[in-house]
Amino acid sequence: MKGGEPLLYEKSRPGRRGLTYPALDVPRTPDALPAGMVRSSVVDLPEVAESEIVRHFTRLSTLNHHVDRDLFPLGSCTMKYNPKFSEAVLALPGISGVHPDQPPQTVQGLLECVYLAEKFMAAVTGLHGCTYQPSAGAQGEFTGLKLISAYHRRKGHRKDEVLIPDSAHGTNPASAALAGYRTIEIKTGKDGILEPGEVRKHLTDRTACLMVTNPSTLGLFETCLPEISELLHQAGALVYMDGANLNGMVGVVLPGDMGVDVIQVNAHKTFASPHGGGGPCSGPVCVRDMLMPFLPGPRIERRGAAYVLADPGPDSIGRIHPYFGNFAVMLRMLLYVLRLGAKGLRRVGENAVLNANYLRARLAAAYPMPHPRVCKHEFVVSLESWKSKKGVSALDVAKRLLDFGFYAPTVYFPLIVKEALLIEPTETESKETLDRFVDAMLAIAREADENPAVLREAPHTTPLRRFNEAEAARSCTLCHW
């Protein structure tokens, strides 16, 4: 189909409706609300029949690319296949129909799920305590920094700075600012690795922690992290790891072994929750033992055969979520771990790295890479030279990939690489799929030399073509009136 779909409001016809409710079977209470409170204006929602609504959203859905259709090589987002049986389990009424304030004796099974999910995540990260309250990775970062603040306050430290490498996800500095910290940017070394010397330069008695992503957003293992952690610890500071890229080492390396004290894991990424077009996600935080008293409450503890909600104690930072976090996403993580087991999880990490390196090796001759060596789960291409020599940008290549039926890699990130394409295939893609992607990328590389206009004007075959985003931001129409 070419072109977009009209809005539901444009399909609205007076008097149509999608759903009727049974007649009210209790007497009305005429004076239930004082007259001054009662809505006088009509609720301005569209009037559409059920069949039209189903068609509307079904048609909309066909305009999306998605993992179940084909490769989604969006770097740092870990778009892997999501097992379907998890969805079937989540839909069980004994799970989806449970209220979070029910007495604990009526939800023992679900409390056990939280307890096990915390235990397994601690094991995966090599740390001691865990909370699933954060709703997403960014909220996990915020939570982790709150824990670090509480820890330093308890110790009587006055520390107000966070060191953040220039390769970090944008959420890191934003979370640090939200948590009240001043952010100090650390330059990544020439080979893309964080160097102890550079960290030492900025490390002071005001440093609360280092926030480091490993594998980094360049897809590289931070080889010096154990040494850097020691520097931080000697200065009375902590090490925070952004675990968004855990897929590049899950089951192979434990963050706790590298001196990491706090980590948020984007459970929806490594542990295979469908991303839902942008969420819901889950950002559990794991900590080393000395930070456990600060975890948000209530804590779920096992007493004898029963699971109870325990007061988190006076040092707790309080609460991040009104209930138990994004429980459904947590449950998918638990199912994934139970299905794969320890060895299966290790194969996830190994194969994610294998697939990324295979793509990297096959594209290396055609695409310039700033760090042409073994990568972890993802790798970066820089089209800076293409831009100046061929007049083709990273965005052009991304848009052209859409014509080949693939989603595009992450573009213009990490910020330290000019004209960056960040490519992450994940472990769930077969060699045949990777080869098809390589064929498309190589065809695009040839086009860049022979017919660059076809890239600059791409995409050509998608339902809608390239948008004028600057004009969209200027006119800023966020709502159809």
Binding site: G4, A32, R39, D101, T223, P322, M330, L464, R465
Partner: protein, 431 residues
């Protein structure tokens, strides 16, 4: 594949990792199970819980047992929505982007506000974000008056805002069970955040509160139950500056409390401070209308430490659920649901008041779908007894009202008169 890479084995791909860090599979992780085994195990686990399938649910306090029409899960389970991600490449994400835009449109029209974002995590963290937003606009003002939220919501707000210059004052419930306009006083007031209906179910006089806040030069933030807007004045009509709310009630299952859906709308002047993703109308090179993520320069991936918020991933799929739900209800359906909640709750409320030994905690105050009742025995004991009769009776309120006998009961459109009469019969049996 290894040959193409030029290595001998998988271990060579980890040659950049210091040898001592390479670990063997953790003994704390389980042995693998098959899909059949796991499905059986979780069927058993699920059937051991009390749930809406086994019990009559009168629990609320933020999460409610509303009816979820069949088309919501059916459309949500489409891989095209479920397994897509953030719509960075607009040309291949129009489904998600247009749904975001339609959701924003419905939220604006429902609340009568100028702008809405495409979702926040939950209603309470949306309120914390709204307070950050208000403070960015008026950095000299610090005091915030709030009423009335659940104990866990208050804890959440304190945790999220601890360490900021904001000074949170949670107002006492008083005899009326809601904020009194006279309580809005003092200098340096940044915002008044009023919940409507509030935690104990009462609908405050939002218009008076909004006027009182504005008279002090403060922002008025309304935290609303979006379903209640089927019968109650929309916040835009009483001058709210920012609107937040928990939108789980719009077609999302209770799921043991998560994922929820944070609703967030505001006046136009907050546009550049709004956290979260925004879908905006755009035109492609052939002049056709579509949608893109717009004003991304507010966001963390570009603005970093100067971003309006750290939010990246949000609750997109739940916003889609709300969008489908609101489409299905349409103009009249939303009023129908709201009226059913209102009259069924008020029916049960009135009948309970007529029972000997039971009394309203806040007599005379208007309620929407929830109310506080003082029982002849302790609320936990009532809950316990009700369980045995297949009823999830409500939430004990001691931490909120100070009285061990107080209980919060919610009634949605799902409850039938027969069920409510069964509840009354149970209550009559308790002395």
């Amino acid at each position: 594949m290894l040959r193409t890479i030029g290595v001998k084995g998988i271990e060579d791909l980890f040659s950049d990792v210091p040898q001592k860090l390479l670990t063997s599979p953790s003994p704390d992780l389980p042995a693998p199970l098959t899909e059949m085994e796991l499905t059986a195990k979780f069927r058993e686990l699920a059937s051991a819980n009390a749930s809406t399938q086994t019990h009559l649910c009168l629990m609320g306090g933020g999460v409610y047992d509303h009816y979820v029409p069949a088309i919501v899960p059916s459309l949500l389970s489409r891989s095209e929505f479920l397994t897509a991600y953030a719509p960075y490449q607009a040309e291949m994400s129009q489904g998600t982007l247009q749904a975001m835009f339609e959701y924003q449109t419905m939220i604006c029209r429902l609340t009568r506000m100028d702008i809405a974002n495409s979702s926040f995590y939950d209603g309470t963290s949306a309120l914390a974000a709204a307070l950050f937003m208000a403070h960015k606009k008026e950095p000299e003002r610090r005091r915030v008056l709030l009423g009335h939220f659940s104990p866990s919501q208050m804890r959440l707000l304190r945790t999220h805002l601890e360490g900021t210059p904001l000074d949170l004052e949670f107002l006492p419930l008083g005899a009326k069970g809601c904020i009194d306009a006279e309580a809005i006083s003092g200098d340096g007031l940044l915002a008044v955040a009023a919940s409507c209906p509030n935690y104990v179910g009462i609908v405050p006089e939002m218009e008076m509160l909004s006027e009182a806040a504005h008279a002090r030069g403060a922002f008025f933030i309304a935290s609303v139950d979006p379903l209640s807007l089927g019968v109650l004045h929309p916040p835009g009509s009483y001058g709210a500056d920012i609107v937040v709310g928990e939108a789980q009630c719009l077609g999302i299952p209770m799921n043991f409390g998560g994922p929820l859906l944070g609703l967030m709308a505001a006046r136009e002047s907050f546009l550049r401070l709004m956290p979260g993703r925004l879908a905006g109308q755009a035109f492609d090179v052939e002049g056709r209308r579509g949608f893109v993520m717009t004003l991304q320069t507010r966001e963390q991936h570009i603005r970093r430490e100067r971003a309006t918020s750290n939010i990246c991933s949000n609750q997109a799929l739940n916003a889609l659920a709300a969008c489908i739900y609101l489409s299905l209800l349409g103009k009249r359906g939303l009023t129908d649901v709201a009226e059913q909640c209102l009259h069924k709750a008020n029916y049960l409320y009135r009948e309970i008041q007529a029972l000997p030994g039971f009394a309203p905690v806040f007599p005379g105050a208007p309620v929407f779908k929830e109310f506080a009742i003082r029982c002849p025995r302790s609320a936990p004991e009532m809950v316990e007894k009700a369980l045995a009769r297949g009823i999830l009776l409500g939430i004990p309120l001691r931490e909120t009202t100070g009285d061990d006998r107080d209980l919060l009961i919610a009634v949605t459109e799902k409850r039938t008169r027969a069920e409510l009469d069964r509840v009354l019969e149970f209550l009559r049996s308790v002395r």
